[in-house]
């Protein structure tokens, strides 16, 4: 190995070598970060998931007990249900909203830049604590939403304090933050060749037909991309639920997102082993969902070049 190494090295010209060194030097910060902040913690959390670990004392090996316990834990089941409900509602509504607004903003009109910025702004503020607090105040029993409803003589609810509605407010918050996907959709729309629209118009296609037969298929790679990104983002949602329910996931676990329960287990109930096991289940489920979407993609994602990029 050593000799081949040397041979290879001698073959490289001085310049190339310098470039290599420079490249690795520039990579180093990322590499250190990756090893220290991603790979290291991942390996230790995998180990911890097989232990009972109260954060403060030495972990004790218990095999698969944490994983077994999960399926008998009502709160774990509740948290899985809350998260899946959220994903299945928030992701599609957010993407549809993003797409519709993107189509509207793709038109030539006065002040389009202003509108684009306005719609993008919420997702910039995205996961911030301030927005979550604002949301909480909006939907509280004497909040702005109810005041507006009262103006129309509708009696409001304690939206965030009622278990039937609390999750809904967080879904609305997520939908409202469609800006990031919208920008990507906009970019995708710009890529669609004008000739296709002209040809479709000449053939007498209605606006609706053109949208479904031309725009959507040509946009499908972008939809695919946004779908994956939003899926990953929303399955990990945490801040809004944490702030709005003051860390409890209440009322009655109605906003007990998976990550929130994981956090509670790890940091408030001193069960870091269990929390680690939960994290690995999350990784697994997320991986499976992503794979399913990837495999399904060949049936609905159309690349102009036939996917042979």
């Amino acid at each position: 190995m050593e000799s081949s190494e040397i041979k290879r090295k001698t073959k490289l010209s001085k310049d190339t070598k310098k470039q290599y060194v420079a490249a690795y030097l520039f990579l180093l910060p990322w590499l250190i970060g990756f090893l220290g902040l991603v790979l290291g913690p991942m390996i230790s959390s995998l180990y911890l998931s097989f232990t009972r670990f109260d954060l403060l004392n030495t972990p004790e090996w218990i095999g698969f007990a944490n994983y077994q316990e999960m399926f008998q834990d009502d709160r774990w089941l509740a948290s899985a249900k809350v998260t899946l409900t959220f994903v299945f509602i928030a992701v599609p509504t957010q993407l549809i909203a993003a797409l519709l607004v993107a189509v509207l903003l793709n038109k030539k009109m006065a002040g389009v830049g202003f509108y684009r910025t306005t719609y993008y702004l919420p997702s910039l503020l995205g996961g911030s604590v301030a927005i979550a607090i604002l949301w909480k105040n909006l939907f509280e029993i004497d909040g702005l939403v109810n005041q507006v409803l009262a103006f129309f003589h509708i009696e409001g609810q304690g939206w965030i304090s009622h278990p039937d509605y609390a999750l809904g407010t967080i879904i609305i918050l997520a939908t409202w933050q469609f800006g990031a996907s919208m920008v990507i959709f906009l970019a995708g729309l710009k890529q669609i060749p004008k000739e296709l629209y002209e040809a479709a118009a000449v053939d007498g296609g209605t606006k609706c037909q053109i949208f479904f037969r031309v725009t959507l298929p040509l946009l499908s790679p972008v939809i695919f991309f946004n779908l994956i990104i939003e899926l990953i983002k929303s399955i990990q949602v945490f801040t809004s639920a944490f702030i709005i329910s003051e860390g409890t996931g209440g009322p009655i676990n109605s906003t007990l997102f998976y990550t929130l329960y994981l956090y509670q287990k790890g940091f408030t109930h001193f069960e870091m082993g269990y929390a680690s096991a939960m994290a690995w289940i999350l990784v697994f489920v997320l991986g499976v969902m992503t794979l399913v979407i990837f495999f399904s993609s060949k049936y609905w994602v159309h690349y102009e070049d036939g996917g042979k990029l």
Partner: protein, 442 residues
Amino acid sequence: MKNWYLYFVLALLAVVTIACSSDSANEETEDTSSNDGQEQTDEENITLRVAWWGGQERHDRTLQVIEMYEEQNPNVTIEAEYSGFDGYFDKLNTQLAAGNAPDVIQFGGNLNDFVYRDVILPLDDYVGNQLNTSLHDQSMLDSATFDGKLYGVTLGTTAWGILVNKTLFEEAGVALPSKEWTWDEFKDLTPQLTENLDGAYGTGDFGEDGFGVFLAQRDKFTYLDGEIGFEAQDVKDWFNLWKELRESGGAAIPEVQVSASQTPEQSLIVQQDVAIESIASNQLGAYAGATEDEFELYPYPYNAETGKNGVSLRPSQYFAAYKDTPHPEEAAKFMDFFVNNIEATEVLGNDRGAPVNSDVRKNLIDQADEMDQAVYSYIDLVSESSDAPYIPNLPGYNENTQLFTETEQKIYYDQQSVDEAADSYYEEVIANIDKYVNEAAE
């Protein structure tokens, strides 16, 4: 590709070096401090981290005392780490796990959970040297003693009480009750308040703390010395009492109750959502400071059968030291200053409860304003009339408190009947306690 491997190893080495160097730095500081610790010289510069939670009022007062301490001890720099109650213990747990906890830490009734987990420094070596406890109430010292060792300094004495919003009572035209009121009077009074107030309810739910008092009124208790002191029936009776109060219109509707916040500023009674709420007596100042309304402290309604009000004196909070603090003597010295120094305690007042040092308490009573007098006279009233022992928090405090709230909410929103909810609460609370106590025993 082999080059890549080489650099991979290099990078790994770099990580290891960085990690090691920070470790050795830590060791160094620890070493020097433990060597010099015995014979501290004034030149030695020490940084002491102190953590607490509280409202704005408490932050201001505590920071002022810290400044005083720094002035008198120029070699000491104190880093204050303060926050609201939300998230305080989550952060602390993380710091403890990382071996990076503050030197002096404020705990509540959950001190026991941390002593069990062996992260608190026993103070016995410092008592009589840096820390003087000779004038402290014995019961408060006992409350911080586990297995014969003292683990914390009690920052104040408090007692559960009922906060009555006099302003709302006047608005409703309802006469203030006598201080020896019963639950029956309470049940009569609260619907009247709701009826005569616009958009406010008679009372907020007294919650888990109230349940503890309710048990004491029946000569029972939650958990003491390894023993459960109540039955599922007691839980049912408590939840039925509140169900009845909600049905009569006396207690706040679920949606209002659930939106209640822990901070005095956002509490239901300060927001004029309810006219009565259960608080710890040391909080009176914080509640009163957050509004123009006039408040008065009442003892809990009496149990007519046993004639007990079930309220006992209890430690409000503790200062305890982190087991691995590099400056144990300095930490003890700071705690001593905090509870025994006359000027410091004058600044602190009774924000964390009535002082446990009898000299300090006398001094404070002498110069107390009206609000503080009210707190002291309430503590006096309780100490005279106290008919219940001090019961520490349940082991596994965080988990059990969450369980209690969840159970309440299941009843609020008719997801479970009182009987079902109480039964499953009882079962689960026992399982939780077992888990914590057994784990600690291991």
